[in-house]
């Protein structure tokens, strides 16, 4: 099969997994296998960050690769860790050269039969979620076209993983969004009530609500809900430190308006 066709098919397969209830490990294993098939690398592996930020080996095209990646995590040095840490591609064309700053990892990789390495970040909107490691048995730089293909694989896999996470948590995320929007609405309504009762503009009214919340150690949402529900009278709110709003002011107003 043509290399281009294989590339396109891999990307389509990756994209298809977005609709199905897919298994993340299965998807990533497919990705590492295709890297070997399509990009002419000897081995490929993927590490993803766990919730605590630690990298975990998620998929490897071979057992030797898996062992090497586990070693990388154990030794806390190597291209995948550097790539994840910086969010930028990392490449070393000759692991025997020794100037890569990974003395233990370099020796281990060479012992496993590898000579050169590239690591590509899995990143979306500035959020690095992991890295793709590509190993070859011969020294030298990877062709740019292959690196671009590898990055395309990594990008689609990244969005697949993140969208999958969003889908798995859809109910919770939508509840959060609704809750956040409701909170905003209650605050806007309370601002309106305070503005009307105290003859303030909306910004000043917000200042009154926030000031009351701070000085009584209450959440702004609870103050706003109290105002709307009538359990907290507008007249009982602490005045904000606006000259127009009135009374004692022991601190200069933040704005000149």
């Amino acid at each position: 099969m043509h290399k281009e066709t294989l590339l396109a098919r891999t990307l389509v397969k990756l994209a298809d997994t977005l609709v199905d209830d897919f298994d993340v490990v299965e998807l990533l294993t497919l990705l590492t296998d295709r890297c070997v098939d399509v990009l002419g690398v000897a081995a490929a592996g993927i590490m993803l960050a766990a919730a605590e930020g630690d990298l975990r080996v998620m998929a490897s095209s071979s057992e030797a690769m898996r062992v090497l990646e586990l070693f990388e995590i154990q030794a806390q040095e190597g291209p995948c860790l550097d790539c994840y840490g910086t969010g930028a591609p990392v490449a070393n064309p000759d692991l025997a050269g020794g100037d890569h700053g990974w003395p233990r990892f370099g020796a281990e990789a060479i012992a496993a039969g590898f000579r050169s390495v590239s690591a590509l970040p899995m990143v979306l909107r500035g959020r690095v979620i992991g890295a793709l490691n590509l190993f070859r048995v011969e020294p030298g730089e990877m062709a740019n076209v292959d690196l671009e293909s590898a990055q395309a694989f990594a990008d689609v896999a990244t969005i697949a993983i993140l969208q999958h996470r969003a889908a798995a948590e859809a109910q919770a995320l939508n509840d959060q969004l609704n809750q956040a929007l409701n909170t905003r609405i209650v605050i806007e309504q309370a601002k309106g009530m305070v503005a009307e009762r105290q003859g303030l503009d909306m910004e000043q009214a917000f200042g009154v609500l926030r000031n009351h919340a701070r000085s009584h150690n209450l959440r702004l949402t609870d103050v706003a809900t109290g105002v709307i529900g009538g359990t907290l009278a507008v007249a009982d709110l602490d005045r904000a430190r606006w000259p127009q709003a009135g009374r004692r002011s022991n601190r200069a107003p933040k704005r000149s308006s």
Binding site: L11, V12, K13, L14, A15, D16, L18, V19, L124, R125, R127, D155, V156, I159, L162, Q163, R165, A166, A167, E169, A170, Q171, L173, N174, Q176, L177, N178, Q179, A180, L181, T183, R184, I185, E188, Q189, A190, K191, G192, M193, V194, A195, E196, R197, M202, T221, I228, V234
Partner: protein, 240 residues
């Protein structure tokens, strides 16, 4: 092949870097389906939340009209949980959206389409597409719109996943119009006539309807202290 469609859309979304996330989402919605413009509205069981993003002024007006009037393709798509297609609002097959259609036509929209936004069983908005000439969506455009709505829905939740607890994601707020002025006005009216904010919202809607004015305009007048509701006839001081 659905995968190819999705891939084409994802490539458009991941490619390029400029612009806010949601405005790019809207732009890709319109481009991929070959429409004049697109917009995304967020909804809840209680009604429309407002507009998340629009590609242009016509789309913005289409969303504003639906928010103000409580009718239109997005609201129906959300309520019915299926695509709602109107290839010609000047000569609709089923008469509907009597208040919405005139101003939408006047703004330059001729065909309007609504697609529900949902992830699994969670439904939270609608994608709105419009075109400046009449005509149905062909099979390809329809399929693209369905995949696009799916990708957009996941993207929106994905953006919210990055928000601090209790807050709307900054990426969702950028370019959005959640109609806060209407809620500010409701708070003011509630204080003026001593009713609940829920009741005040109903009064605002009724006033806008009986004076044939957009709800947002009325709300702005209340907040700007041009209109009050505590005079004898319910609301005075509104010019025109």
């Amino acid at each position: 092949m659905p995968g190819e469609r999705r891939l084409r859309i994802l490539a458009r979304l991941t490619g390029g870097t400029s612009g806010a996330e949601t405005s790019r989402l809207c732009r890709v919605c319109a481009d991929i389906t070959g429409m004049s413009g697109a917009g995304i509205m967020l909804m809840s069981e209680a009604g429309p939340r407002g507009s998340l993003c629009t590609t242009d002024e016509v789309s913005a007006l289409i969303e504003q009209l639906q928010y103000d009037l409580g009718e239109g393709p997005c609201l129906d798509a959300y309520r019915l949980d299926r695509p709602v297609l109107e290839p010609d609002i000047r000569r609709p097959v089923v008469p509907r959206w009597l208040a919405f259609s005139g101003p939408a036509l006047g703004a330059g929209a001729r065909a309007v389409f609504g697609f529900p936004l949902r992830v699994g069983s969670v439904r939270f908005g609608a994608l709105n597409l419009f075109r400046d000439r009449p005509g149905t969506l062909d099979a390809d455009q329809h399929a693209d719109a369905l995949v696009m709505a799916d990708v957009a829905a996941q993207s929106i939740l994905l953006l919210q996943a990055g928000a601090p607890p209790g807050q709307v994601a900054a990426e969702l707020e950028a370019g959005a119009d959640f109609q806060y002025v209407v809620h500010q006005a409701a708070g003011m009216v509630a204080a003026q006539i001593d009713v609940s904010v829920g009741e005040a919202l109903v009064r605002l809607h009724a006033h806008a309807f009986s004076h044939d004015r957009p709800l947002t305009d009325v709300a702005r007048d209340v907040v700007g202290r041009v209109t009050r509701f505590d005079e004898s006839d319910g609301a005075t001081g509104s010019p025109g």
